[in-house]
């Protein structure tokens, strides 16, 4: 009778984490940040139909990097959970924290129990009436939840982008200022990004109900002008 080889659990986890990180590193990055008008999410995305940034609920947005079909499934699951909760209780009871915890549970479950981890990183953002109360939850492939302070950078090149963005970002800046900083950080020193290569959405702080709004290319061009 043949015996399976023994592999140390540390090694299994490390292999899975490496695998997930490699998958995520292949994709492009995105930045989510608090600005005066709300929360702006800016992703480098040459496709205008396969979205990385989407609406979940009235004041909650979702953004994902990595494998498109995997984070899109998570997005749809989040929309379902939020709509069901809003239907059963009230629209006010739907919150980003509880959604982030549910996502963490799914990601953690898949990471430890399945052959292949999900090759995604996601951002769950909720805009409040005051900028100080905005919430940004950054979730990693293994279910780790990071409660980001003013901004979050996701994706392959996150560390470098985060460093560039952190240097240019001012927390009380307006939409145009934050968006310019985000685009410059995503592009880096050698490149220039134009509106057609970007996907930008805003969770509008002043909105009354559904606060999520996509910014069209011409509006983005004008803002980063």
């Amino acid at each position: 009778m043949s015996m399976p080889f023994y592999v140390a659990p540390e090694q299994v986890m490390k292999d899975r984490a490496d695998y997930a990180r490699k998958g995520i590193a292949r994709g492009r990055s995105l930045v989510g940040a608090v600005c005066a008008e709300g929360i702006v999410i800016c992703a480098e995305n040459p496709s205008s139909t396969l979205r990385k940034v989407s609406e979940i609920y009235d004041r909650i947005a979702f953004a994902g990097v990595g494998k498109y079909n995997e984070f899109d499934q998570l997005r749809i699951a989040g929309v379902r959970a939020a709509d069901l909760k809003g239907y059963s209780f009230s629209r006010e009871d739907v919150d980003a924290r509880s959604l982030a915890n549910q996502y963490a549970q799914i990601l953690g479950q898949v990471f430890t129990h399945e052959m292949k981890p999900l090759e995604v990183e996601i951002l769950v953002a909720e805009v409040a009436h005051e900028a100080a109360d905005d919430q940004l939850f950054h979730l990693l492939y293994d279910g780790t939840v990071i409660d980001e302070d003013r901004f979050a950078v996701l994706g392959g090149d996150a560390e470098a982008v985060s460093e560039r963005f952190g240097a240019a970002y001012e927390a009380d800046a307006d939409l145009a200022g934050v968006l310019r900083a985000a685009v410059d950080a995503l592009a880096g020193a050698e490149r220039q990004l134009v509106a057609a290569e970007l996907e930008v959405a805003l969770l509008d702080r002043a909105g009354s109900r559904r606060c999520f709004r996509r910014l069209a290319d011409d509006e983005v061009s004008r803002l980063i002008g």
Partner: protein, 260 residues
Amino acid sequence: MHIPTFRTQDDPGPDFAALLRSQGLGPAAPASAVTTAGTIPHGTTVVAIRYAEGVVMAGDRRATSGNLISHRSIEKVFPADRWSGVAIAGAAGPAMEMVKLFQLQLEHYEKVEGEALSLEGKANQLSQMVRNHLPAAMQGLAVVPLFAGYDTRRTVGRLFQYDVTGGRYEEDDYATSGSGGLHAATVIKLGFADGLDRGDALDLALRALVTAADEDSATGGPDPIRGIWPVVATIDAAGFTRVDDQELAERYATIAGGAR
């Protein structure tokens, strides 16, 4: 919050009603006639009129339980989404539930698919919901809505009327529903012209509701003492806009001046 997961073949797609059923939250039809449990509130007269830029929808504010007035300020005209509205007549409880579900259905579809349904698609959705409600209607809980919206692809206002079986009928000019609907329809029929402007269409809708309230005890008239006016909304290229009470009060004052 619980995240529902599905096997590929059971996935409800963008259908919120199917998602509710899969979670055991779908509404169940009553087991016996509801009239045996006593009278329940009913909402009455709603109208929709097409005008040059879109559609006007209006509904009175009364709900009745048999001979009694159960609510003086119920609302029967709701936005379905940004570009469309729904008005309800019939058993108030199930009607409100249907509107809530319809609004969610449109929003859910838009979020899951990343694109809003066409106006035609929305009208068909409502038709299915009315049809699914038929077992409850047979037990005395009929709901008969009106649906109107601005068709952003064809850039015109369109309106739809339904019957209790889910039959969907697109009307060219106007539609009414509820117990005072017959009287309201007569007023609109006589006053309607192609390409009415916004003000004339609003006045016509208000006059139709006044006449309905005159002739039908289940329809409430304007109530200047308490400041309760009908719910009136316009749906045009700018979307669903509720007409404010101030404007309605002024329009009613003009109508009253010429009505004696």
